[in-house]
C-alpha cells in the first residue's frame, strides 16, 4: 500500500482521488449488474447522468473556491434558478435576443457573488448567514420578477434559437462535457498557479498569518465568492440547456449536492485544502448516484437522504483525518 502511495503518478493525482475514481467505476458496474435494464438502456442513463454533471459541475467548481477560503455558500442552487428564471423571462416576455439573456443570467450570478463576497469579506457577516439570506432573496426575487411563472428556454427545434442546445451536444457529441472540462482546467490553473488561488488557499488555512504578511486578505476572500457567483451563472445556462424549464421557488437541493461533490473530492470544510480534480470526480459520483437511484425506482426523497448522508460521511472523513494528523 505504501509503495502505491509513493508512486509519482499516484502522488500527483492523489491517492484519495484514485480511490474515488475506483468508487465511481465500481458504482457504475454495480448499477449495471444490480438494476434491471440499466445496462440494456444503453446510453440513456449515461446521457441523463451527463446532463446532471454539466450544471452541477459548474456549481461545485464555484463552491470549491468558497470552501477553500473556509467559507460556505448555501445560496448557489436558488441563485442558479434565479439566473435561469430572469434570463428566461427576458427571453420569453421581453423577447430579448438569446445571447443577451444568457449574459443577463450570468451577470445575475456574478452580482450575487459580489454581494455575498462583499458582506463576508468586508463586513464580516458570517458566510452561513449571508448565503442563507441570499438564498431567500434569490428565490423571492425570481418569483416576483417572473410573476411566479415557470420559464422555458428554447428547444433544439426552435428555428432561431435552436443552437442553444449545441452547448450540450451536437449530433450526440457531448460538447457540454468538453466545455466543463475546459472550465475545470481553468479553475485548476487559477487555484494552483495564480496569485488569486494561492492567496485563497493560504487565507483559508491561516487568514491572520496571510494578513500579517501584508496581503489584502479581504480582496482575495471576496474574489472566491465572485468566482463562485460567476460559475453559478454559467451553471444556470447548462441547467436550462439540459432541462429546458425552470420553476420559481426551488433549487435548494442543489446546494447540498454541489457541496457534497466538492467535499467528497477532498476539499476541506475548514478551508485551506482544495482539489479541483476531486470536485470533478465528486460531481460525477453524485450525478451517477442520482440517476442510479431513479433507475432503481426510488424517488427524489431517497436522493435527498443519500446526498445528506454523503455530506456527513465526507465531512466526517475530513475531520477525523485531521484529528489523526494532530
Amino acid at each position: 500500500m505504501e509503495k502505491i502511495k509513493q508512486n509519482p503518478i499516484v502522488k500527483k493525482i492523489g491517492f484519495n482521488r484514485i480511490i474515488l475514481i475506483c468508487v465511481l467505476i465500481l458504482m457504475y458496474v454495480v448499477f449495471c449488474l444490480g438494476i434491471k435494464g440499466f445496462a440494456a438502456a444503453g446510453t440513456k442513463h449515461l446521457l441523463n447522468t451527463l446532463n446532471y454533471v454539466y450544471f452541477l459541475g459548474f456549481l461545485s467548481l464555484g463552491v470549491t473556491f468558497v470552501i477553500a477560503t473556509g467559507g460556505i455558500d448555501f445560496s448557489i442552487g436558488p441563485v442558479m434558478f434565479c439566473c435561469a428564471l430572469v434570463g428566461g423571462y427576458c427571453l420569453n416576455s421581453y423577447k430579448m435576443p438569446l445571447v443577451a439573456d444568457i449574459i443577463i443570467a450570468i451577470l445575475i450570478g456574478l452580482a450575487f457573488g459580489i454581494f455575498n463576497g462583499y458582506m463576508v469579506a468586508y463586513q464580516k457577516v458570517p458566510a452561513f448567514i449571508i448565503s442563507m439570506a441570499s438564498m431567500n432573496i434569490a428565490k423571492g426575487a425570481a418569483a416576483v420578477f417572473t410573476k411566479t411563472q415557470s420559464q422555458s428556454w428554447p428547444l433544439s427545434t426552435d428555428p432561431v434559437n435552436g443552437w442553444f442546445r449545441n452547448l450540450i451536444s451536437v449530433n450526440g457529441f457531448p460538447v457540454g462535457l468538453v466545455i466543463f472540462a475546459i472550465a475545470a482546467v481553468i479553475c485548476g490553473i487559477i487555484l494552483y498557479n495564480t496569485k488569486m488561488g494561492r492567496y485563497i488557499l493560504c487565507l483559508g488555512s491561516n487568514r491572520e498569518a496571510v494578513r500579517l504578511s501584508g496581503v489584502n486578505t479581504k480582496k482575495w476572500e471576496m474574489s472566491a465568492y465572485v468566482m463562485c457567483g460567476l460559475l453559478t451563472g454559467i451553471a444556470s445556462i447548462f441547467f436550462v440547456a439540459a432541462y429546458t424549464t425552470v420553476q420559481p421557488g426551488y433549487g435548494d437541493q442543489y446546494n447540498n449536492e454541489a457541496i457534497a461533490g466538492c467535499v467528497m473530492g477532498g476539499t476541506s470544510m475548514v478551508g485551506g485544502l482544495a482539489s479541483i480534480l476531486g470536485t470533478v470526480i465528486g460531481v460525477f459520483i453524485i450525478s451517477l448516484l442520482q440517476e442510479g437511484i431513479l433507475a432503481f425506482g426510488l424517488g427524489k426523497d431517497i436522493q435527498l437522504i443519500v446526498t445528506g448522508v454523503i455530506v456527513i460521511v465526507a465531512v466526517y472523513a475530513d475531520v477525523s483525518a485531521r484529528r489523526r494528523k494532530n
Binding site: 498557479n193 493560504c202 500579517l212 504578511s213
Partner: protein, 503 residues
Amino acid sequence: MGEVILTMKGIDKSFLGVHALDHVDLEVRAGEVHALMGENGAGKSTLMKVLTGIYKKDSGTITYFGKEVEFHNTREAQDAGVVIVHQELNMVGDLTVAQNIFIGREPKKGIRIDDKKMIEDSKKLFERLKIDINPREKMKNLTVGKQQMCEIAKAISHDCKLIIFDEPSAALTEKEIDDLFKIIRDLRAQNMGIIYISHRMDEIKVITDRVTVMRDGGYVGTLITKDSTKEDIINMMVGRVIYEDPKTHSMCPPDAPVVLKVEHLNAGHMVQDISFELHKGEILGFSGLMGAGRTETARAIFGADPKQSGKISILGKDGQLHEVTINNPQDAVKAGIGYLSEDRRRFGVVVQKSITENSTLACLENYLHGPFIDKAKEKKDSERLIKELATKTPSSDQLVMNLSGGNQQKVVIAKWLIRDSDILIFDEPTRGIDVGAKNEIYKLMNKLASEGKSIIMISSEMTEILRMSDRIVVMCEGKKTGEIRIEEATQENIMDKATRNIN
C-alpha cells in the same frame, strides 16, 4: 525519598514512521520531585501522554506500585491516582472555583448538586495546600497563578499519588512561582511522587531531587540534582556546549542613521505615548514583564491593530526620514517592515502549505509571470534561503506543519528576507524553540544586523535581552520606563525599570 512508585521501562512509540520515543526509561519514587528535561521535541510530553493513557505505547512496560499497568484514558489514570497539571489551564471562567474543581463529579443531594459540600470540600483542599482562595469566587477573576493553584487542588482532590506538572511556571510571576514551590514541597512531604517538566534550569536546581534528561525521543540519563551542575544537565540535553554570555558593547556604529522613528504612539491603554528610535544595523531590545505592552506596541507599529495617534517615520532612499501612514499590515510591509510574531503557528506561518509557499507569501508579485506564478523561480529562491538559514528539511516542498519550532521560525525569517524588509520586529524570537536552535536564531539575528538590517527584539528572557541587544527599551504597563545602553545594562537596572509603575 521512599519506595519506587513508578517504573517506565523501554517505552517505545512511533507516529507514522517517526520514532517519537525510543526505549525510554523513567523511575519515580514516593516523596521525590523528579524533573523531566529535554529540548522541545525531545519526547517529554509524549512520554507523559503514554503514561496517562492519551497515547498507546508500542512496547515497553509501565509498573505502578509493583503492578504492571496500562491506562487507556486519563480517567483510568486519574482513578489510579496519576494526575497531570497542564501548562494550559482547563478551566471554565464563568464557573466558581469550587464548581471547576468538582466539574464532572459534583457531589449530589438527591438530584440536586450539593453546593455546600462542594464548597466545604474545596476549602479543605485549599487548607491542605495552605493557600487562601475563596471557593465561591468566579474562576476568571483569579490571577493565572491562583488558577494554577486551583488546578493543583483539583488534581489532589483525586486522592493522587503521582502528580505531573507540565511547565507549570511558564505563565507565573516570581512570587507565584515561590508559592507553587511551597506547595510542591508540601506534596513531597506528603510522600507523593512528582514529575516536574520545565525548561527553566534555575527552577530545576531549586525544586527537584533527580533529573531525567531526554534527547530526540531517547533516554539520555538520570542525575541526582544536588550532585550535578547546570552545565552537566545542559550538556546532556544538547549534547554540545552552549554559551550564554551577555554582550559587553554595542555592535552598532555610533553614527548609524536612524531608520525608524516612532513618536508619541498611542494605541489603547497598553501603548501610551511610546517614542523611540531604531538605528541601521542595530538590535534594539524591548524588555519588560508580561503584559507590559511590548507586543501591542509592535502590532500597532506594524498596523496589525488600530492606533489612536502617533507619528512613524522611516528612512527613505534619499537618506531622509519620511513620515509614513500605516493603517494595516500592507502599508507596513510596503514601508519595509516585517513582523515575526511570538505565536508563529497562529500569526506567522500557514502550516498546511509548503516552505516555498510560505516563503514567498509577502512578495508573490515578484514571482508572477503574466497571471501565473513562476514556480521554478519561487522554488529556487526558497531553496537558496533554506541553505542560507540552514533550515532543516528534506525539501522545499515540505509542509511547514512538519517542521520544528526553530525551523518554522526560519521559514518566517525567510519570508521577510525574500521580501527584502529592512526593519524586522522579532517578537519573542526563541519562544518554544529548543536550546540548539535558539543559538542558530541568535547567530542569524547578529548576521542580519551586521548586514545592515535593523532589528527590534521583544523578549521576556533577561539572558536573551542582555546577550543580543545593542540598546534596550524597557516598558511597564503600556509606558516606556527607560532606555539603557548595553554597556550599562544589568539585570537589576532593567528589572527596576520594568517594575517602575507597579505599586
